[in-house]
C-alpha cells in the first residue's frame, strides 16, 4: 500500500480567440477496491461550469462548455491517492475486452508474428501468457518520444518497431486479444518518464495490471485515471473548439510524491 499526493495540469494555448469550447476530461482518478482518493481538487481557468458522469467503462468524466471568448484554457487536478494493488479488482468486466478494437486491429504481418511467437510460450496459464507477451512487446519495440501520434494504431507501431507507452500498450492488447485473453487499456500517472503513462490490465478471474513499456507489474506506483478498449476510450482530454482558425499548443505537467 502506498499513499501518494498527485497533481496533474494541462494548459492549452489556443492562439487566436475561440468562442465556444466543449470538452470531456478523464483526468480524475477512479475510485475502486485498489484505489481510494481524498482531498480531490479540480480547478479551471477561466472558471467554467462542469458536470460529472460515469461512462460505460466506469471512468469519471468531467464535461463542460465554455462559451466566452478565450485564448487559454488551464485545468488542474490534485489530491491524495491510497493505492493497494494487492486487493483483488473484479468489477468492470465487459465482453468487448476480448475483441480487437479500432486501434488494436492486427494486420497480416502481426498475425504472422503472433503465430511464430506463440510457439515459444508453452504455458496455459493466462497470467504467464500475458507476461510472455509483455516481454515480447518490450523486446520488439524501442522507446522513442514523438515517433508516433494519437492516431497511431498498433499495426503502424508494429511496422515502426518504436513508439511510446501508448503504442506498447496497443501492441500488447493486440497480442493478448489474438491469444483470447480479455484485456483493457489503462491511462494514468506513474513514477516514470513522461507526464502521463499508459499500461494494460488483463483478466484472469480478476484484473491484473502489467506495464509493457517497463515490462513489469503495475504496482502501487501507478494511479489509474481511465480504462477502456484502447486509447480512444481513455483520452485524458477530448475537446472541440468553435471559432476562428486557431493554432494550438498544450503543456502537461504532473507530479507524484509518496507520503511515508
Amino acid at each position: 500500500m502506498k499513499k501518494i499526493n498527485f497533481t496533474y495540469q494541462t494548459q492549452l494555448d489556443i492562439g487566436t480567440s475561440v468562442n465556444i469550447h466543449c470538452f470531456a476530461l478523464r483526468c480524475v482518478p477512479t475510485i475502486d477496491s485498489q484505489q481510494r482518493i481524498s482531498n480531490l481538487k479540480l480547478n479551471f481557468v477561466p472558471a467554467v461550469r462542469t458536470w460529472t458522469n460515469t461512462d460505460s467503462f466506469g471512468n469519471t468524466v468531467v464535461s463542460g462548455r465554455y462559451d466566452q471568448p478565450h485564448d487559454k484554457f488551464v485545468y488542474s487536478v490534485s489530491g491524495t491517492a491510497v493505492v493497494c494493488r494487492n486487493n483483488a479488482l473484479r468489477e468492470g468486466y465487459l465482453p468487448c475486452y476480448k475483441y480487437q478494437s479500432q486501434m488494436t486491429l492486427p494486420n497480416d504481418e502481426m498475425k504472422e508474428f503472433y503465430q511464430q511467437e506463440k510457439q515459444e510460450c508453452k504455458s496455459v496459464s493466462i497470467t504467464e501468457r500475458a507476461l510472455f507477451w509483455s516481454q515480447t512487446v518490450n523486446s520488439l519495440m524501442s522507446y522513442e518520444k514523438y515517433s508516433t501520434n494519437v492516431k497511431t494504431t498498433s499495426a503502424i507501431a508494429f511496422s515502426y518497431k518504436k513508439g511510446v507507452c501508448q503504442d506498447y500498450s496497443h501492441l500488447l492488447l493486440s497480442f493478448l486479444r489474438m491469444d483470447g485473453i480479455a484485456c483493457r487499456y489503462v491511462a494514468g500517472l506513474a513514477f516514470c518518464d513522461g507526464e502521463t503513462h499508459s499500461w494494460v490490465e488483463f483478466f484472469d478471474s480478476k484484473w491484473i495490471g502489467i506495464d509493457p513499456t517497463n515490462n513489469c507489474h503495475a504496482n502501487d506506483d501507478y494511479i489509474v485515471l481511465s480504462r477502456g478498449r484502447d486509447f480512444v476510450d481513455c483520452s485524458i482530454d477530448r475537446g472541440i473548439l468553435f471559432g476562428v482558425s486557431s493554432a494550438q499548443s498544450q503543456v502537461v505537467t504532473s507530479s507524484l510524491e509518496e507520503i511515508k
Binding site: 494519437v150 502521463t196 472541440i240 498544450q250
Partner: protein, 243 residues
Amino acid sequence: MGVISIEHSDKLFWLGRYSVRVFTELESVLKYYDNMIDGDVISYKEYLKNLGLADDYKNGQEFLQSFLYDENNVNSIAYSLNRAYDNGIVLREHISTNALSYLQLAIDTLRNSKSSTNALRYSLIPLRDNMFAFWGCVDNYMISDEANTILRLGKSIERLDLYFRLGYPLSAIDAEFKLLCSRLLKMPRNSPYNYNRKSLTVLTEVTGMENYRVRLGEALQALANMFTPNPTPKPQKQFQFQQ
C-alpha cells in the same frame, strides 16, 4: 412551430428580402419593357444606371433575356427567385409545404415563360399570381408573430433599398420606412435584429427630403448597416493529445 433558431431567423429575413426583390424587379423590368413597346428602345439603360450596373447588352431584347431568365446573373429575377427558394426550403415547418409550393410554381412559371409563344407580360401573369399566393399563404399559415415580423423586416429593408435605388416616389418610401420602424421596435433586444440607432437617424432625415437622391449613398449605407452581423460560430478543430 413557435421557436425560431438563429439559423432560421436568418433564412426568414433573406426569404423576405429575396421574395420582395423578385417582385419589385419584375415590376420594374416590365415597366421598362412597356416603355420599349412605344419605341423607347434604350429605356432599359436607365434601369442599369439606377442599379449601378455595366451596360453590356446589345439591345433591349438581350437585356430582358438576361434580367428575367439568366440564373447566373445575380441581378436577374431567376436568380432572386432561386435564392428565395433556397431560403424557403429550410423553412418548410415554419411557412408550410403549401407556401413553399408557390415558390416552386413561380420557378416553373418563369422557366416556362422563356419558351412560351404567348406575349411576354401575359406569360408572366402567373408569376405575379404565385408570388401573391406565396405571401398570402405564409400569412395564413405562419402562426408565429415573431417569424412574421422577421420576414417582414426583410421585406421592408429590401423594398426601401430598391425604392431608393430605382427612384420611387417619396410617398412610397416614407410609407415603407414607417413600416420598417414598427417592425424594428418589435424585435427582441438580444436578437441579431437589434437596430443601429445611427442608421435609423440617417434614414429618418433622408425619408423627410423630397430630393432624397442627394443623400442616396448615405441612405443605402445606413440600410446596409442596420444590424450588426452576429454569425453563429462554426466548429474548427478538435484536440486530443498523446499521453
